[in-house]
Symmetry: C2
């Protein structure tokens, strides 16, 4: 008689998989890396799964101490899910795993690309030149906002509008992904209407230019 679905293995790898190895679990963690999200937002961005699976995972991840539910302040009266300190320690794991996964063949179409994915990519590849910043950029993708804080050679990203931005960019994840590493297309994208920019356009462009040479999302194996 099996004791639930634990691997019952003292190995740290197996114990990690006991906690975050179920289907969709790590993608939920990914979505929470930049800050708390509500149920409907998770559901929207993880569109390939169903609501009961998300609910199950959230329950399990909370029971295992990876995430926690939190009640929003007064008027909203709604709940958000956020990583615990332990859950936040998954970030380096996800970054190296994601880097490894980029060498895999592309998934079958139609494939999605979400806001968190491109923002993770931006953050992991951007090495802001300290002499050109600090700056605050608002990034709106698929109708949700993030704030990018660029200072001291760091690029920090948080959900929501947590600071007054010097400039804003509004587009979709796919277009934003194409703009990263090809910042020269920014002007064109604006004219075409694929991108909207407010405030200081130069700071947007400078942000996009801080990304290392960057191969495209690739299907090659080395």
């Amino acid at each position: 008689m099996p004791t639930s679905r634990s691997y019952q293995d003292l190995c740290g790898i197996a114990r990690a998989l006991d906690v975050v190895g179920e289907r969709w679990a790590l993608l939920i963690v990914r979505e929470l890396l930049f800050g708390p999200q509500r149920f409907s937002e998770l559901r929207r961005v993880l569109a390939n799964t169903s609501s009961n699976v998300i609910a199950d995972r959230l329950r399990e991840l909370e029971a295992n101490g990876v995430i926690q539910r939190r009640q929003l302040s007064a008027p909203a009266a709604s709940w958000v899910y956020e990583l615990t300190p332990w859950g936040r320690q998954l970030e380096p794991v996800l970054l190296t795993l994601g880097l490894w996964g980029l060498q895999s063949p592309l998934p079958p179409e139609p494939a999605v690309i979400g806001p968190t994915t491109v923002l993770l990519y931006l953050r992991s590849r951007a090495h802001p030149d300290p002499t050109e910043f600090p700056a605050v950029v608002r990034i709106e993708l698929d109708g949700q906002s993030w704030t990018a804080l660029i200072h001291d050679g760091q690029l920090e990203i948080q959900v929501g509008e947590t600071a007054k931005p010097d400039g804003s960019i509004r587009t979709d994840p796919k277009t934003f992904r194409e703009l990263i590493g090809a910042p020269s297309q920014l002007q064109t994208a604006i004219c075409v209407g694929a991108v909207g920019v407010d405030g200081d356009q130069k700071v947007i462009r400078r942000l996009l230019e801080q990304v290392v040479p960057a191969d495209q999302i690739s299907s090659e194996r080395t």
Copy 2:
């Protein structure tokens, strides 16, 4: 209509999980980190699953380019499974994931601890003092042999007997795990019969002593 079980997400994390996200897949990769293994050996050490699941995973991992089958030389006429170069790149991912997982609560009893687990632990925590080595140590756990090559402040581990050892130790994973970081117990363990040692006993002891202070397998979260 779902296209198989792909996440259909261009994110590297999701693409990695498309490849190694199925149950038991990463534990199979773990078992191959130190070199090729045969089916029956995988089955023996991953005792909590059934043979068909292992066979399925091996097929999928091979199809996805993570592992490859190889025919052993003449007399054996048997097959082994080994990581491809791409598969070997999972090692840092597994190490950080395993480190994270050690902070989880212990799995329900009865829990196993396999040879690869303790050897991974040894290798990730040992920082050999270059002045005390080089040396070659044969480690036999649960009847299978590994060779530890200690040189230039590195500890390299391979399956099988790949070099002539200065000393050999023979025990079970649990005892070996307890000995790591508590090398003073070596003499006692030998007398009790829990450990067998051949050749230079001092080199065994010196190897065990190269592990950093090392908390026990812990259930604490930081």
